[in-house]
């Protein structure tokens, strides 16, 4: 893929991924065919800031965990009143990282399905 396009993607989507994943993502995109750019561009990535706000407001109801796709842990968190309130507070600090991790998983799964 065209380097300029890839850099534009990286600039606009950098906040959705961990910093250390960016070089790998860039390499993958560079090796990819141009025709898949639209599919990658329209991936349903979770905004870590939105998830953090949800976690702050409705963390005890585990809405943040359900949003990032951790349904099993979400049910556990919901049944334990947000892990007796402790898990809810811990999640304020780790949920953004988890959202970025889930985004990266989604990106790499989507890339793996396409021939380069």
């Amino acid at each position: 893929m065209d380097a300029q396009r890839v850099d534009m993607f990286i600039m606009t989507k950098a906040k959705y991924f961990e910093g250390h994943q960016i070089p790998v993502i860039r390499d993958r995109l560079l090796a990819m065919d141009d025709s898949h750019f639209l599919q990658i561009q329209t991936l349903n990535l979770k905004d870590p800031t939105t998830i953090l706000i949800v976690s702050l407001v409705a963390g005890s109801f585990a809405v943040d965990r359900f949003m990032v796709g951790d349904t099993g842990l979400g049910i556990a968190k919901l049944l334990t009143c947000g892990g007796l309130g402790i898990w809810a507070i811990v999640d304020w600090f780790i949920i953004m990282g988890r959202a970025r991790e889930v985004n990266a998983e989604q990106f790499f799964n989507s890339v793996a399905l396409r021939p380069t």
Partner: protein, 138 residues
């Protein structure tokens, strides 16, 4: 593999914390004037959360009052079932060096996430139960 180990650790910690919490309540029974509430929602808004009453439901179950436990919060029976099954399942997986619990966990998670016929009734039940909790003023 890494995420599988994570699932085991989280479930083990939750089970231990659950037993410790119930043990604490059994030991301190009658000592405290008012029961200890750590629920953020209830403390902040005075409205019970969907899982308020589970501790009381479990304590009723332990004392043999199944009907009282169901009336307090039906989710208590679900939690009791999970607390009985999960530690045994973790131990059997560790001993036999298999990952049946993690695979079942991920399979169930995937079914709940992707099947509308499963997650819509579950959400509806959880909301109904929450409404009942608020009406009961737990």
């Amino acid at each position: 593999m890494k995420s599988n180990i994570r699932i085991y650790w989280i479930l083990a910690i939750l089970s231990v914390a659950g037993y410790a919490w119930i043990g604490f309540h059994l030991l301190s029974n009658g000592v405290a004037e008012t029961p200890l509430t750590v629920c953020l929602v209830k403390n902040a808004t005075c409205i019970p959360c969907p899982s308020c009453g589970i501790t009381r439901s479990l304590l009723l179950l332990i004392s043999g009052n199944i009907q009282g436990a169901m009336l307090m919060n039906p989710l208590g029976c679900v939690v009791a079932f999970a607390m009985l099954i999960i530690p045994v399942w973790i131990l059997s997986d560790v001993v036999t060096r298999k990952d049946t619990l993690a695979r079942s966990f991920l399979w169930t998670e995937n079914k709940i996430k992707t099947r509308k016929a499963i997650y819509i009734p579950l959400v509806a039940l959880a909301l109904l139960n929450w409404g009942w909790n608020i009406l009961k003023e737990l």
